[in-house]
Symmetry: C2
Subunit: 661 residues, 2 copies
């Protein structure tokens, strides 16, 4: 870890300004994410709430709430009617929805919604056993098998998600009931694994990052100790899952206990140097590790995180910020293996990469980490959701070929249009909770610096520290200008705000002005550290260079040799058939050709700018193989932002386009 | 089917000159395939014989011969020690080896080998049940389950291979014992399926083509009837396998009875228009269909074959003649889906495509069918075997990437070097029997025309028809010249030989001379029909245009857009790392650059010509994604024939190379 190794929380002199506080303190304003915030509030969360309550006609039932009811009934009366239904981790859907709802309540108070949340929380409390244990699968279905199959049974995973929900709900609404419930559960876990010395570590990481959040919110050292415990024991005995299975041979999924990559237990975490296995598990684990490293100042752990982050971003990440090259195991594969059409590239994994990168940002304050947050957010994650919020992709390929995508044996997972809902409902609520907590990625603060990371229009309330608010106005990502203003709290004088503004790697030249004149700032680690500090009268304006850039992949990656992709600002573009005579495979970009940027098209795809690039369209040989080179005629290729693809029916899509003179 | 619809056998005026007769009548001469013939005789067959007898140290045992011994013992004494071992189709390994041995004996008489074959045949006879039934799996292990699982249990498949062996052994050695055994088995099958009316059709086609061979060899009409029966009932009830499983729920593999593509039962065969499912099964089925169509003059069946062949060769075939794009199901996928690195492209499937294409050639006498035989033979099939005959590929990708190939989840099957032997030993003996019977693909005859299809140096004995031999001298495929001479039988005068010489599609201009002067011939359907007929004094010389050609794939195929491959004569070339600074991914071919052909390099890779192409080598960006275009410097790219790849250790290989100005 470079000398810049600083922690956000432990080095704080005054009151810690934790990540979650930001959600309450930041109000999303009008602009790109304003629309998304409304969408989550008005469409995504209500739809998911109905799903959790089995009120969606024609969809596979969730049974989530019903599972909690049954568990509560059983605990009260000794038995319950009906059977547990759903995945072994079904509880986590309720947790993720509650977390998303909490963020929404912080932005848009809603008594009805809050009441319904409180009722669900009471139900959760009623489903908790006397010793603090909470999990409806085990309470209803397998009461004798608690903690006997860490490899597959997701108990710690579910606990982790409910802990996250509890912390979020407490911070956003000020209500501590769920936090109490989950502290009881965390205490139960502590007794089992620490005091009673139970062996093992979770098959699906999540508890680690959740316990770190719980620790930060409650200041209870045992939760940090427990988080570190799960991090530290992982992979020390790589055969733990095997031994566990030999001892208790009941199975949930039939996971292979000899596969030590799938759940990242091939070595102790500080010795891990390749991002392997199930991509979501991996980045959730690394998020917990990075958070723990930041909290404890554990340089060895921080270095492992850095190595793993470098491995991902230099060898195992798509240009959209997606990760996980293979459907099988929903997993990372090998360095420089990034197929476009068969990518797994799960929405949840990109979200996890955002979690991980953001912790790395908090750890090292280097802009490259926020660059990856931005890459994954604006491209893969947003593509995961239909623009109207009603449908979702789990899988986000970089090339879609109707007739093959979603149909060939190798492409069953890579659907060319978003389906309506999933039996395994992990990605949609994950999108909701990420979009609800954008503040965490937009800003962070350490003593002496307020970092502006993403450029989400809105108002950050820093009254307690600086006596006012920082207002960012922008039409980013389509417009290249930012405007920061400082608004004092009524009756107070605003103090100086020490701002550091991220300079994205794609901006060749960035103009920063203070009150219309070139500002004095130091460019370091991907940030413009404004010299001096700014107050109520000041306006800082930033102009990025949003010229269209051509992206090239290292030739180590076979799929993209000879090809290029177009990027403008943080947005990766793609060519879709619907704009290009239903055939994007015959297109190539002219090597030094012009690329024009359209006006802002407010009525298309909820508001975009298109790109029109000089290119070639080749004739299509009818013969499969031919000795005749296809003739190429000049043409204009139309590109739309990748996150908007698949919103206009079934058609071809391609990000990486061959380039020729 | 065009007006040229003629059948090879039924239209014959004189004695039929069947396919198998050719193996005995054709002596491979010195040249490219002379070396292969020796290799099969001296290395491949002896190794396989030892394997069948469990004499290979360190290899998984075959147990093939032992299974027959046990079956014989059980039939004699009522019981046997030990257990059946191996795949349910293990018997077919013995069959394929015997067929290969038969061809070898036809070319190179070998008393010892023939004696050992005769002993094995006696053992096979002793393992046959009184009612003619022959299958060691069922005789030893599951005596009560005969004919209850056609979907998975491969009884008809094993019977088919042993019938092929029987016909081959009879024709090549004149000994009829195995033919008697297999006629008894065929009679048993006839009684069961025709006389007793048992339902169903085989999960793995093979019996159809085998029964056609048996019919042709024995002239027994019932065998043709039985072959047609299996062809005609297939897919009429697409749910047959499902019903069979409900009736007798024992399983071998757990094949999905709802998958109606895997075993080509989605529709009656005459209505099938897409080549689907397990590629070997598909082409074995189509081979039987084409043979039956030829035999019966069934135009509807012939048209279905034509449609399926067109579908394969225009949408589902690699440039190497390989087929089967997906590992899962070892199967065809969808039109125009031809990934290079994850291809299944099984050696056996390319061999099956040769079988099918050759039957189509016999049916229609159009050169395009022989073009595909040649494409698959010289490229995919030969690549299936290490040049020294000791190792084999099942899977023949068109791109190999060490670190990914054979290692990533999606590439476990696509090994970058040939492994030593396989537990499932299907491909190696298939290569042996194909190379042993090249005569069938080299020549065919109908009244009035002797077709020269492949250009394998050697001597065809046509004494019974024309009073002598036709001798082809050539160093094809590296040299472009053919020389045909006509040698009368001693004491006879040679009659006129009506020759039609195939003009491969890759030869832009072909010079054909008779005794040094431009010959009079009619070019039609890919053949030069020599006008007049030629006798003992005449020399026909052919000079093909073997200029290097650039091959382009239709833009319908995503994987190859912007790329080209090099071909010279019938050989597809590839770039390997070992010749190109261990990095072929940074190479691109100069659009109109020169390609030089090396001298014949007798000491390299058992004799090849290399290609040296003008190209570009790009710098490799260390960054995974970069806004900087890689710089390109002129370079010379070295290419070797695809069939020789992977013979010089682990390294990159690529067939399709980006092309740029």
């Amino acid at each position: 870890m470079p000398p810049a190794f600083r922690t956000m929380y432990t080095d704080m002199e005054g009151e810690a300004m934790g990540d979650l506080r930001l959600v309450k303190d930041f109000q999303v304003g009008e602009g790109f994410f304003g629309r998304y915030e409304k969408l989550v509030q008005e469409v995504v969360l209500p739809y998911q709430e109905r799903a959790l309550n089995d009120q969606i006609e024609g969809a596979e039932k969730s049974h989530c709430i019903e599972n909690f009811r049954m568990a509560a009934e059983k605990l009260k009366t000794g038995h319950c009617d009906g059977e547990f239904y759903g995945m072994v981790f079904q509880d986590s859907d309720v947790a993720k929805w509650l977390e998303g709802a909490a963020y929404s309540l912080a932005q848009n108070p809603d008594e009805d919604l809050e009441k319904r949340c409180d009722e669900i929380i009471e139900l959760i409390g009623a489903a908790q056993q006397k010793d603090g244990y909470l999990n409806t699968y085990f309470t209803v279905k397998e009461p004798d098998k608690r903690w006997t199959n860490l490899h597959e049974a997701h108990e710690l995973y579910c606990a982790g998600h409910m802990i996250e929900a509890a912390v979020a709900y407490a911070e956003c609404t000020g209500k501590g009931r769920l936090l109490e419930i989950m502290c009881d559960m965390a205490d139960h876990i502590y007794r089992h694994f620490i005091e009673e010395g139970a062996e093992g570590y979770p098959g699906h990481p999540e508890i680690e990052l959740a316990l770190m959040r719980l620790y930060r919110s409650t200041k209870e050292e045992r939760y940090k100790e427990l988080a570190l415990h799960f991090i530290n024991v992982r992979g020390v005995d790589p055969d733990y899952y095997k031994k566990e299975m030999e001892k208790n041979p009941w199975r949930v999924w039939g996971n292979n206990p000899d596969d030590k990559e799938y759940a990242q237990n091939y070595a102790p975490v500080r010795q891990q140097d390749k991002a392997v296995g199930h991509a979501v598990r991996a980045v959730y684990l690394y998020t917990g590790m990075a958070d723990a490293a930041m909290e404890t100042g554990d340089t060895e752990l921080a270095n492992a995180c850095k190595t793993l982050w470098d491995n991902i971003t230099q060898h195992r990440m798509y240009v959209t910020g997606a990760i996980g090259s293979a459907y099988e195991g929903e997993a990372f594969t090998k360095d420089d293996h990034l197929p476009n059409d068969t990518a797994y590239a799960e929405t949840c994994a990109a979200i996890g990469l955002i979690f991980f990168s953001n912790k790395m940002l908090y750890l090292a304050h280097e802009g490259k980490y926020a660059d990856v947050v931005e890459r994954a957010l604006y491209n893969c994650v947003l593509a995961g959701m239909q623009l109207d919020g009603t449908k979702f992709f789990y899988v986000n390929p970089l090339e879609a070929l109707p007739g093959i995508s979603g149909e060939a044996q190798t492409h069953k997972h890579a659907l060319p249009v978003r389906p309506k809902w999933f039996a395994c409902a992990c990605c949609p609520p994950n999108v909701a909770r990420l979009l609800g907590s954008l503040a965490e990625y937009t800003w962070h603060v350490i003593p002496g610096t307020l970092f502006s990371n993403l450029f989400v229009a809105g108002t950050l309330d820093v009254s307690d520290r600086f006596g006012g608010r920082v207002v960012l106005k922008t039409d980013y990502p389509y417009d290249n200008k930012l405007e920061y203003r400082f608004v004092p709290q009524e009756g107070r004088e605003m103090m100086e705000v020490p701002l550091a503004i991220r300079i994205p790697a794609w901006s060749k030249e960035t103009k920063i002005c203070l009150n219309g004149k070139t500002a004095d700032c130091e460019i370091r680690d991907g940030y413009a550290y404004m010299r001096g500090a700014y107050t109520a009268e000041d306006v800082i304006t930033v102009e990025f260079d949003m010229a269209v850039r051509r992206v090239y992949t290292s030739n180590r990656v076979s799929a993209n040799t000879g090809r290029t992709a177009l990027q403008r600002g943080p947005l990766i573009y793609c060519a879709e058939g619907v704009d290009n005579e239903n055939d994007v495979l015959s297109l190539s970009l002219k090597r030094d050709g012009e690329v024009k940027v359209s006006e802002y098209l407010a009525d298309e795809l909820f508001g975009i700018k298109k790109l029109y690039a000089e290119g070639w369209r080749e004739t299509v040989n009818e013969e499969l193989y031919s000795f005749k080179r296809q003739e190429a005629k000049p043409c204009t290729i139309t590109f739309v932002p990748y996150y908007t693809w698949g919103n206009r029916g079934l058609n071809q899509m391609r990000v990486w386009i061959p380039e020729r003179d």
